[in-house]
């Protein structure tokens, strides 16, 4: 009995023990930290399961919250309106073209973003409102904080293509190949151009 329990515990602990962590810092060409940059790691040679998640892009004080929302392709996004005025959310982006009618509260149906790419959001009533949904083909993604840092945790050992996106970039940078070993904690600095 004891042997069985120990074996089960070891089996459960094995993936955690072998998980690698990638700490990324994103700076611009002048060395200043870049906030709201998205970094995502695409596993090479391994299938990625479909997303079955729901995310939220709120609207409060005529601001989309968060300003940048990374999601895995296939994720459904809700667009609640927490303001006391109406909003009309739209996107012209090829990754997802849609518009919601004028509304307050939360629309009944979430919108599924099934195609990787950058979806620029706006409000047709309040032109100052802008935000981005970054749809990525992997569950391994994060957004930088105000110091330009993020962490991709629970990565299994193997090869990855590391991709960077931020709103002010002029073109898509080439993916950075990264190889992680079991339990490795790697630090990488990326320059956003």
């Amino acid at each position: 009995m004891l042997r069985t329990l120990v074996s089960a515990a070891l089996l459960l602990a094995a993936p955690i023990a072998s998980a690698a962590t990638l700490a990324v810092t994103v700076r611009n060409a002048r060395g200043a930290p870049v906030r709201d940059a998205v970094v995502y790691a695409i596993p090479e040679g391994r299938e990625v399961g479909p997303a079955n998640q729901t995310a939220v892009m709120d609207q409060k004080n005529r601001t989309f919250i968060p300003h940048v929302l990374p999601i895995q392709a296939g994720t459904a996004v809700k667009f609640p309106n927490s303001d006391d005025i109406r909003h009309q959310v739209y996107s012209f982006s090829s990754a997802k073209t849609f518009q919601l009618p004028l509304y307050t509260g939360t629309p009944a149906n979430a919108i599924v973003f099934d195609k990787p790419g950058v979806v620029a959001l706006g409000c047709n009533i309040h032109d100052r409102m802008t935000a981005y949904i970054v749809v990525v083909p992997t569950p391994h993604f994060a957004t930088t904080d105000k110091s330009g840092r993020l962490t991709l945790a629970s990565l299994s050992a193997g090869k990855y293509a590391l991709q960077l996106w931020h709103a002010d970039q002029r073109s898509d940078p080439a993916p950075l190949p990264v190889t992680l070993t079991s339990g490795e904690q790697k630090q990488i600095e990326l320059v956003a151009r």
Binding site: N61, D84, Y103, N124
Partner: protein, 377 residues
């Protein structure tokens, strides 16, 4: 009561004959019903709006003039063919005695009607509108249907723009990463300037309808649809907005000839507005300041300098909002100030209960209001 060629007349108080065209209301109601039927069958057609019932302490004249009891229904009809192409019609019905010369027993008509096209060249966004529209510059009237979420009535500046300016033409807007610019070329609005110069400023929410004639004094009227001299007016705006701050400059020139055309007097108005808005957490601070000359030529040329500014501070909670506004407005050296405090409470999602107190020049006005929102959602 007599009816002739679509006009119904009836004898009112003091033997006055009151007339109202029945053609326009019937046409508008038909349009609404047809739209509602179509909207049920097509997701690209949407409608939303609100109805309000308002009571006010009696103020007969001056900037705080207001009906003791008034009602309004405003309805927005939107056709959303795609994010690229759409159309918008803003209908308004109101029961107010005394504002409108054409109909002293209530008015029903069109406040806005335009077709809109959105283009995305590169990372820019360009929006084209053609039709009749509010100038999209107000920092107060920021909700759909030009509704003001902060107070029941708007500042002197925006009360004037809502009552006497409705560009009828083409508007182009350009947006790029916080920078924005726009220009409007319009017909109509030849009498823009008559209200503050001749009647006086007001703190109101009386959005004039297309074709409506609003009394300026017993002898003449003003209308946003007045095009007497066949000269196009124009407006230009530009600015920048960041996550919390917006700065905007606007110029309006109706290029009116300043001449008299029957009961319509053209006022040539050149007006500049600078606007700043700062939003952080649940606080909003908004300010607009406008100034410029207007002239009228009757025997000789009369010129007035118009000036109107406001500073608004507003705090929102989950179901309520409190706002305080200071207004400063003048014609030449004849200036006035006003304070307005409003508290708006939303006990349930579609109902808003509001109270507002405004004071200026020794006058005080108290408003209470029930506002019910409806939509096709």
């Amino acid at each position: 009561m007599v009816a002739h060629r679509g006009v119904v007349c009836q004898r009112g108080g003091g033997g006055r004959i009151l007339c109202m065209s029945v053609v326009r209301p019937i046409a508008v109601l038909t349009l609404v019903l047809a739209f509602a039927c179509a909207a049920n069958a097509d997701d690209s057609l949407q409608w939303s709006g609100f109805a309000l019932l308002r009571g006010a302490s009696s103020v007969d004249a001056g900037p705080l003039r207001q009906e003791q009891l008034s009602t309004q229904v405003q309805l927005g009809l939107d056709w959303l063919h795609s994010p690229v192409l759409g159309a918008h019609v803003h209908l308004l019905a109101r029961d107010d005695n005394g504002h409108s010369k054409a109909s002293r027993r209530g008015t029903l008509g069109v406040a806005e009607a335009y077709v809109e096209m959105n283009l995305t060249p590169g990372s820019d966004r360009v929006r084209l509108r053609g039709g009749a529209m509010f100038l999209p510059t107000s920092r107060e009237n920021i909700d759909a249907l030009w509704e003001n979420p902060y107070t029941i009535t708007s500042s002197a500046l925006n009360s004037w723009l809502g009552e006497e300016l409705r560009p009828i033409g083409i508007d182009a807007s350009w947006f790029r990463r916080g920078l924005f610019a726009g220009t409007t070329v319009f017909r109509g609005n030849d009498t823009f300037g008559a209200l503050p110069a001749a009647r006086g400023w007001s703190l109101d929410d009386h959005w004039t309808l297309l074709g409506e004639r609003v009394p300026v004094d017993p002898d003449y009227v003003t209308s946003v649809s007045a095009e007497n001299d066949d000269r196009l007016g124009w407006s230009a705006r530009g600015g920048w907005n960041g996550p919390h701050l917006l700065v905007q400059l606007t110029h309006i020139d109706n290029r009116s000839d300043g001449r008299e055309y029957g009961e319509l007097f053209n006022w040539g108005t050149d007006f500049d507005i600078v606007a700043v808005e700062y939003t952080v957490n649940d606080w909003t601070i908004a300010a607009e300041s406008g100034w410029g000359p207007t002239f009228l030529i009757v025997d000789q040329k009369y010129t007035d300098d118009l000036r109107a500014s406001y500073l608004l501070v507003s705090r929102a909670w989950s179901r309520s909002r409190a706002s305080l506004r200071f207004d400063d407005f003048a014609v030449d050296d004849d200036g006035q100030q006003a304070w307005t405090f409003a508290y708006l409470w939303t006990p349930v999602s579609k109902l808003r209960v509001g109270a507002e107190v405004a004071t200026t020049g020794g006058e005080r006005r108290v408003l209470v209001e029930l506002r019910y929102r409806f939509s096709a959602q």
